[in-house]
């Protein structure tokens, strides 16, 4: 079967994970991470392909995707902003950071911007409470304390 989403390099990685761990189910979460890394979100069709390739029930994979917060279905945005809303960031007023980011990106929480560049999500503690309010853009962590509008603009410009 020819795969649309499982490209050669992803399949190579999946094989690596299958060899690394004794059970094939253990390759599911690492493989989903690879898919997430490549497509930024989880395309629904890719789950069918992964189930086919790993020979595990599709329902098992769907169960995993719905359980873990990091796995999302396709939202058509290139960059994913995750802002922490837990207590230390709440005390550091993440809301004002969120408002600034909303204004600069034209995206909203749970909604991508019209140009498909940004998607904003509020998440639970990301373990960066000393630099609260902390936020992640894709895989990069940023310090939201004492962040000026200019600096924020510069950070956002790095992500096309």
């Amino acid at each position: 079967m020819a795969y649309k989403y499982l490209t050669e390099d992803i399949i190579k990685k999946i094989d690596e994970y299958r060899n690394k761990f004794p059970y094939k189910e253990q390759a599911i979460i690492p493989s989903l991470h690879e898919i997430l890394e490549k497509y930024r979100d989880i395309p629904e069709k890719s789950l069918e392909e992964l189930a086919e390739y790993l020979k595990v029930p599709l329902s098992h994979i769907e169960g995993i995707v719905s359980f873990y917060d990091m796995f999302r279905f396709k939202k058509n945005a290139r960059h994913h902003i995750r802002i922490c809303r837990n207590l230390p960031c709440h005390l550091a007023n993440y809301q004002s950071l969120l408002e600034k980011i909303k204004k600069l990106t034209n995206a909203d929480v749970g909604k991508s911007s019209a140009d498909g560049r940004w998607y904003i999500e509020l998440v639970e503690c990301i373990g960066s409470c000393a630099i609260a309010p902390a936020f992640l853009i894709d895989n990069d962590l940023y310090d939201g304390s004492n962040l000026t509008d200019e600096e924020l603009k510069k950070i956002l410009e790095k992500y096309k």
């Binding site: 917060d69 837990n86 709440h90 005390l91 503690c125 373990g127 960066s128 409470c129 609260a132 992640l136």
Partner: protein, 434 residues
């Protein structure tokens, strides 16, 4: 710039404040860089491993760890030696898992060890593996730490190349290897049986206990699950031997990491012995920000402490602070109800849904606190809140359910006037009713 992080393609990780008054766990971790294997070995690293493998039997190490009074640093505070003793009764193969799923609100101590001094953890794991008779170890790291994952993979490779991991370590007949597994954003996976389920490639639902992991763990085999900080203590215990019992107060020997955040001058990770009090710890972090007045401390999501508790020690005694050491400081401009609402929202979001009292109870809790915040709560709601808070732990099988109402219970006890004021439509800090 950092050579290792550069090679791994990691952007500069944000600078945070790290301070220690004993220099044990954070000895190499004060600067914002990753310590490679050469530097680690040159500063005395892996000498504890050599001492353990060549001059000590597993029983020697176990007795030493028992005497060290080391307790689990992941929050529960269970004596590590007793846990290890427990697994020795069960047959091989046994497994070791390092719990690096640090997701407790306000907790960021393990990531400092992982990102800055990963070999300390790896060395601790090898010695632990030798002690409990395990040949395979896993590190379960949370999905939100992509940098930590890459650094651990890199450090494990380094250790393998230098012969500290793999077959016949240091020429002995002991073999051990470590694999890293990434989570994907679920607080519940920090609970040890849920972590095992997740590591086996399933949804992270906790198992019914007993049997406990030392009897029935990963792949149904005896398994030890230990926190990053706990395992990082092991090389220090081996190095210091009986002198370890000179560090800190009797019964609670050894270093402890305290992640401090919220309204303090210098939020960050602080290392100290456990005889330090909450007040001294806040002073160590520069005191309350802007010279305001202290109001409360949230210990992650697990407890609330008021002005009267400022002189409790940060140890694991019944009156002590205990837990992960997480300290989130609130000042007079913060509202207790508003903060509880954030915590309640967190538990509602993170409850896995296996036990109905937790799944529904966390939702009810959240709704009542929302009423308090917008000013529609009545005396009846307060009674109902107390009722729920009592019943969630009774009806749940894991630590998340046990601790879900803990902050509320503590706040009801220590800040009853806040609840009363909100019932009367007043918010002492002026945060709510907007």
């Amino acid at each position: 710039m950092d050579r290792i992080r550069e090679r791994l393609g990691l952007p500069n990780l944000p600078e945070i404040y790290v301070e220690s008054n004993i220099n044990l766990l954070l000895r190499r971790a004060k600067e914002n860089r990753t310590v490679g294997i050469e530097e680690y070995v040159n500063t005395g690293g892996y000498s504890a491993l050599e001492k353990a493998l060549k001059r000590m039997t597993p029983e020697d190490i176990l007795v030493l760890v028992e005497e060290s009074t080391l307790r689990g640093r992941g929050g529960a505070g269970f004596p590590t030696g007793r846990k290890w003793r427990f697994i020795l009764m069960n047959p091989k193969p046994r497994y070791l898992i390092c719990n690096a799923d640090e997701s407790e609100p306000g907790t960021f101590k393990d990531r400092i060890i992982i990102e800055r001094d990963p070999h300390l953890l790896i060395e601790g794991m090898i010695i632990t593996g030798y002690t409990i008779g395990a040949e395979e170890g896993y590190i379960y790291i949370r999905g939100e730490y992509p940098a930590g994952y890459k650094i651990l993979e890199y450090a494990i490779n380094e250790a393998r190349e230098h012969g500290f991991l793999g077959k016949n370590i240091l020429g002995t007949d002991f073999s051990f290897d470590i694999k890293v597994y990434r989570g994907a954003g679920a607080y519940i996976c920090g609970e040890e049986t849920a972590l095992i389920e997740s590591l086996e490639g399933k949804r992270g639902h906790p198992r019914l206990k007993p049997p406990y992991p030392p009897q029935w763990g990963l792949y149904g085999r005896p398994t030890i699950v230990n926190n990053v900080e706990t395992l990082s203590n092991i090389p220090i215990i081996i190095t210091y031997g009986r002198y370890f019992m000179n560090i800190g107060p009797v019964g609670f020997f050894g270093p402890k990491l305290f992640p401090i955040s919220g309204k303090v001058e210098r939020p960050g990770v602080y290392e100290s012995t456990m005889d330090i009090t909450l007040r001294e710890l806040i002073e160590m972090a520069g005191g309350i920000k802007g010279g305001r007045k202290f109001k409360a401390v949230f210990s992650g999501a697990l407890g609330v402490y008021g002005e009267k508790d400022l002189d409790i020690p940060m140890d694991y005694s019944p009156k002590g602070f205990g837990g992960t050491g997480t300290t989130i400081v609130l000042d007079e401009t913060d509202c207790i109800i508003d903060s509880l609402l954030v915590i309640a929202n967190f538990f509602h979001h993170e409850s896995c849904g296996k036990c109905t009292p937790c799944r529904v109870g966390t939702y009810e809790q959240l709704n009542i606190l929302k009423k308090f915040k917008n000013g529609t709560a009545t005396k009846k709601d307060l009674d109902y809140l107390k009722h729920i808070a009592k019943n969630i732990p009774i009806g749940s099988i894991c630590g998340l359910g046990y601790s879900a109402p803990q902050a509320i219970v503590d706040a009801l006890e220590k800040f009853p006037e806040e609840f009363e004021a909100h019932l009367e439509g007043k918010c002492p800090a002026g945060v709510c009713f907007k």
